[in-house]
């Protein structure tokens, strides 16, 4: 599908860069134009995402099969002929989506649009802020549509610098610390990922379409087929030490993003210090890149190691769920509480993934989407109250339901969705994840123990609700205005999505099932007999 001769995925990915350049060219002092340009660009991106939604064929599986990838764009980017010793090096501009990346593309477009609305009152250097936000948008979208590992990695890294600036310049009091911590953690993860990527590159060859000569490639799809691994290469065979090491490198890289215990400590700092809209993006999209990477890269490329390490993954999921929930319960800072609840909720994604069966996997990816929308709402809600009161101390409030009834209403939807109330989207994905994991013998005990997290989540969510919204109104906030139209316009669409997907999840589940079942097949069978050509 093309618009003006350029593929729709390229539009989705690079439209924000165009927007960034446009924003930078607007002369100083025209803040309104800057805002509306950014909103227009992200809005256009959202419309394109809807167009993709309408044209997406849910019956195609994708994952390791280029023919059933959708909206594919492929062009040679770098082709070094070099000489006979080194072999050819080929890097492609290769984009495409399937049922795994599709929900993430929609989510990214949606969250970025919401984030621009939430950034409406940025107090300083608005132009730079919007430019960075749009650059971040490109990086995130690129990660989800790239099918060439090199390209994937470039997009992955492109996000770091804008995020550093967004937290560091527009953040809270401890912004410098939070920003550099985020930067260092993520870079540490990505250099390990880089090494694993290079190892994969040197192990995989595909025949050149024209000459038939075997060439190395960064093509992710080719990396999923064991037949493409050179017999004497580093990662050849199954279950070797080198493969375990490479998997570990990738895993740490992705785990830091998710974040999986014990790599999670950057998250509360980053969330607390980041401005509201950036917290929304962090929780809504950035964390998903970690789990997406595990599903897109680690699982299908290392099915042997992934299946062997199911139990450790399950244990990490358990720690994330319960430890995250316990930490959340102990917080006095509203935003930090939400940050830790993210750790807990991402644990559910991990548990579903560890199950490696249909329910678990569907639950995991659906939970990725739902967590994106629900947590985005939660951070927006914190932002609303922080903008008015300039404090996030949970004990400083009380009885807000009386002063801010509309706000309390929308908040209730988000809180109940987060604790998994049936009828809202969070319930379905959590139920699926637990259901899937329970069926696996090795994970049964872990799953049962993890359900403790659900109870804890309900506890801290309801307790927070009680402390902030119920009880005797605090005199200090008596004159606090209720939620305004702009804030509602960011929250209501998300609330509708949460509600609709809670009642009729097939709207999204149907789009994922073919791909995810195929992914499970690949992992289960170790990728054997899945012939594909690059």
């Amino acid at each position: 599908m093309e618009i003006f001769g350029i593929g729709v995925l390229s539009w989705l990915t690079f439209l924000p860069i165009v927007g960034m350049l446009a924003v930078l060219m607007i002369p100083k002092g025209n803040e309104a134009i800057v805002k509306w340009t950014a909103l227009g660009i992200t809005g256009l991106q959202l419309i394109l995402a809807v167009v993709v939604y309408l044209n997406f064929d849910p019956s195609l599986s994708g994952i390791n099969n280029v023919d059933s990838m959708q909206f594919v764009e492929k062009a040679k980017w770098i082709d070094v002929s070099a000489n006979s010793w080194v072999g050819r090096i080929q890097i492609e501009y290769f984009l495409g989506i399937d049922g795994l990346s599709f929900p993430m593309v929609i989510l990214t477009a949606l969250i970025c649009f919401i984030a621009v609305i939430a950034s409406w009152n940025i107090p300083k250097a608005l132009k730079g802020y919007m430019a960075m936000l749009l650059l971040l948008d490109t990086g995130m979208m690129g990660v989800f549509v790239a099918l060439d590992f090199f390209l994937f990695y470039v997009f992955w890294e492109v996000m770091l610098l804008p995020m550093y600036f967004l937290i560091g310049i527009w953040g809270g009091p401890r912004r410098e610390y939070a920003a550099i911590k985020f930067f260092l953690y993520t870079l540490f993860g990505s250099v390990l990922m880089l090494l694993a990527m290079i190892a994969l590159y040197f192990s995989v060859t595909v025949p050149d379409a024209v000459t038939g000569e075997r060439i190395h490639t960064f093509n992710m799809l080719a990396m999923m087929d064991p037949a493409n691994y050179d017999p004497n290469s580093l990662l050849a065979g199954m279950g070797t030490t080198f493969r375990s090491l490479a998997y570990l490198g990738l895993f740490i890289g992705f785990a830091i993003k998710v974040p999986i215990f014990p790599f999670h400590t950057w998250l509360p700092d980053a969330h607390v210090e980041a401005p509201t809209a950036i917290s929304v993006i962090l929780a809504g999209v950035l964390l998903k890149m970690g789990t997406y990477g595990l599903l897109r890269v680690s699982f299908p490329m290392f099915p042997d190691i992934a299946t062997a390490w199911v139990v450790p993954l399950g244990i990490l999921a358990f720690i994330n769920i319960v430890y995250g929930a316990l930490c959340a319960m102990a917080q006095k800072d509203f935003k930090k509480l939400i940050a830790y609840s993210s750790v807990s909720h991402m644990g559910i994604v991990l548990l579903g993934m560890a199950a490696m069966n249909t329910q678990g996997m569907m639950g995991a990816v659906f939970q990725m989407f739902n967590h994106g929308t629900i947590t985005a709402m939660l951070f927006l809600i914190v932002g609303v109250v922080y903008d008015r009161a300039h404090t996030r101390d949970l004990d400083a409030f009380g009885g807000l339901a009386i002063t801010m009834p509309k706000y309390t209403g929308i908040m209730t939807v988000a809180f109940f969705a987060a604790l998994g109330l049936p009828g809202l989207s969070g319930f379905i994905s959590e139920a699926f994840s637990f259901l899937g994991a329970f069926q696996v013998d090795e994970l049964r005990v872990i799953t049962i123990a993890s359900t403790l997290g659900i109870v804890l989540t309900a506890a801290y969510m309801l307790w927070t609700l009680q402390r902030v919204f119920l009880g005797k109104p605090n005199e200090k906030w008596a004159g606090m205005p209720d939620i305004n139209g702009r804030e509602l316009s960011a929250l209501v669409p998300l609330a509708i999505i949460v509600l609709v997907l809670g009642i009729y999840p097939s709207l999204l589940l149907n789009y994922m099932s073919t791909s995810l079942n195929h992914l499970i097949d690949i992992v289960r069978t170790g990728g054997q007999g899945m012939a594909m050509l690059p």
Binding site: A82, N83, V86, I169, L187, F202
Partner: protein, 494 residues
């Protein structure tokens, strides 16, 4: 005989041009006393010509002057690299307040840069132990004086003196090693050394090992690898920024050229090669250890530096460590990765030094605190410096990433896992101090209303001359890689 010399001379044109330029610069300075910049112009023109002529030498390898000098694509690659960096340094010098503060000695300055460049050209081609020493000394002697160019500044003189002491010491050690090699093998040409070792009779191997390590000391000094780096921070801090930039790029590149040629020519091939005979001694491991020490020490110490020049000095030690990883591998991939890295390093490092110089010119300080709120006062310079620093860290989509990518690729291809992991972690460490500068520029005191740093149009153009390759080579690097592969192909290593 005469014919042979003439034929050889025709292969020696770039060096001859530099020699003529050297004389011309001095003459211009004497004749046009009132216009000191004319000398710089002559030096610049001569270097450009030499670079273009050197670019024409990507042909079949030849040995000229009885095997003293090799003319081959490898040498040509380095000559062009050195010429480009010299040209950039000349251009940067135009806007250096330090250099202009002693404008009377401009002729001297330009002549010495040209003679150092000539030394580096010779280093790139030297294939005889005597020639290696001569080329090294020519470069070093010129650099000693250049480091003390602003003799009014006390730390500049200190830098020069330290440089001489360390330089003399390491040259001495190296020379002694070379004399031992000559004693053991009876040859001074590198190929002769190899043949003698291949014959094998009566070579005292422990002594040969000692001799080789002594020679490595000389190379290590030139590329400022740990533990031969002690001169680097003081010299880099004391010397004028232009000279610091010159030393950190040109001198380092030439040092690598010499080292790679020495190792490859004396070792590759027969069983009796230098690497072969020293079987009990794991040569690559020694280089690997030097590399790890350089990276780690350079990066860790750089964290504590508040003077940008000093920080970049330690960072250049770390970068020498990264490049040494390519030498460790010693394959086609490894060596070409070093070449790629050097090109990339030239643009990003010269760029960083250029920005530091412009900021120092405007604020009078190289301290990291001078960078507070710079983003408000000099938006373009700040963005440029961010890009250079990000590239030095090795993040895509900048050229620095490509350099690192190829180094790591070579390491993994040769199964040097642990070294690759250490290298990767080091680039994370380096992020911390590079970002300290970014933090000061963008995150601190952005409200302070110090006067803005204004760039003239030529200054901006020069900035882009270094900025564009830093970005472009990050997005499209195929030609560079091809060139690097072609340049090391003649060595025939696998």
């Amino acid at each position: 005989m005469v014919e042979q010399v003439l034929q050889n001379l025709s292969q020696f044109v770039p060096e001859t041009v530099l020699l003529v330029t050297f004389c011309a610069v001095i003459l211009t300075d004497v004749i046009l006393k009132g216009r000191p910049m004319a000398a710089l112009g002559v030096g610049l023109a001569g270097t450009v010509a030499a670079g273009i002529l050197a670019a024409g030498q990507f042909g079949a390898p030849q040995a000229v002057f009885h095997g003293m000098i090799s003319v081959d694509p490898f040498a040509a690659f380095f000559k062009v690299l050195v010429a480009v960096s010299t040209v950039l340094v000349f251009l940067i010098s135009l806007y250096s307040s330090e250099v202009r503060s002693a404008v009377k000695r401009m002729g001297e300055y330009s002549a010495l840069i040209v003679s150092a460049t000539l030394g580096m050209f010779l280093m790139a081609g030297a294939s005889n132990l005597l020639m290696i020493v001569l080329a090294l000394e020519l470069t070093s002697l010129s650099s000693y004086i250049l480091a003390g160019y602003t003799k009014e500044a006390p730390d500049s003189s200190e830098a020069s003196l330290k440089y001489i002491l360390y330089g003399a010491m390491s040259s001495g050690v190296m020379l002694y090693g070379i004399s031992l090699v000559y004693g053991l093998t009876g040859a001074t040409e590198l190929t002769g050394v190899r043949i003698a070792l291949a014959a094998g009779a009566g070579v005292n191997y422990p002594l040969l090992l000692v001799a080789s390590i002594m020679i490595v000391v000389g190379f290590g000094y030139k590329i400022s690898a740990v533990p031969f780096h002690f001169w680097t921070p003081d010299v880099y801090e004391g010397a004028p920024i232009t000279i610091t930039a010159f030393l950190s790029v040109g001198s380092k590149a030439a040092g690598f050229a010499m080292m790679i040629r020495f190792f490859v020519t004396t070792s590759y091939g027969d069983l009796g090669s230098m690497l072969g005979v020293l079987q009990g001694f794991e040569w690559p491991k020694l280089v690997a250890i030097i590399s790890v020490l350089s990276m780690t020490l350079g990066n860790l110490v750089a964290i504590w530096q508040d003077n940008l020049k000093r920080m970049l000095a330690y960072s250049s030690i770390a970068h020498a460590g990264y490049m040494l990883m390519g030498v460790v591998v010693f394959t086609q991939n490894g060596l070409s990765a070093v070449l790629i890295y050097l090109v990339v390093y030239m643009f990003m490092n010269l760029g960083a030094f250029y920005v530091v110089m412009l900021v120092a010119g405007a604020t009078g300080s190289e301290d990291i605190n001078a960078y507070r709120g710079l983003s408000q006062r000099a938006p373009l310079l700040s963005v440029a410096l961010v890009i250079f620093l990000i590239s030095l860290t090795g993040l895509p989509p900048t050229a620095g990433f490509v350099g690192k990518l190829y180094i790591f690729s070579a390491l993994l291809d040769a199964k040097w896992m642990w070294l690759a992991v250490i290298g990767a972690i080091n680039s994370v460490i380096s992020l911390y101090y590079y970002v300290r500068v970014v933090r000061n520029m963008y995150l601190r005191d952005t409200e302070v209303s110090a006067p803005p740093v204004v760039l003239t149009r030529p200054q901006t153009v020069l900035l882009f001359v270094m900025l564009i390759p830093t970005l472009l080579l990050g997005l499209y690097f195929a030609p560079l890689v091809d060139l690097a592969h072609a340049s090391v192909a003649l060595f025939g290593v696998r």
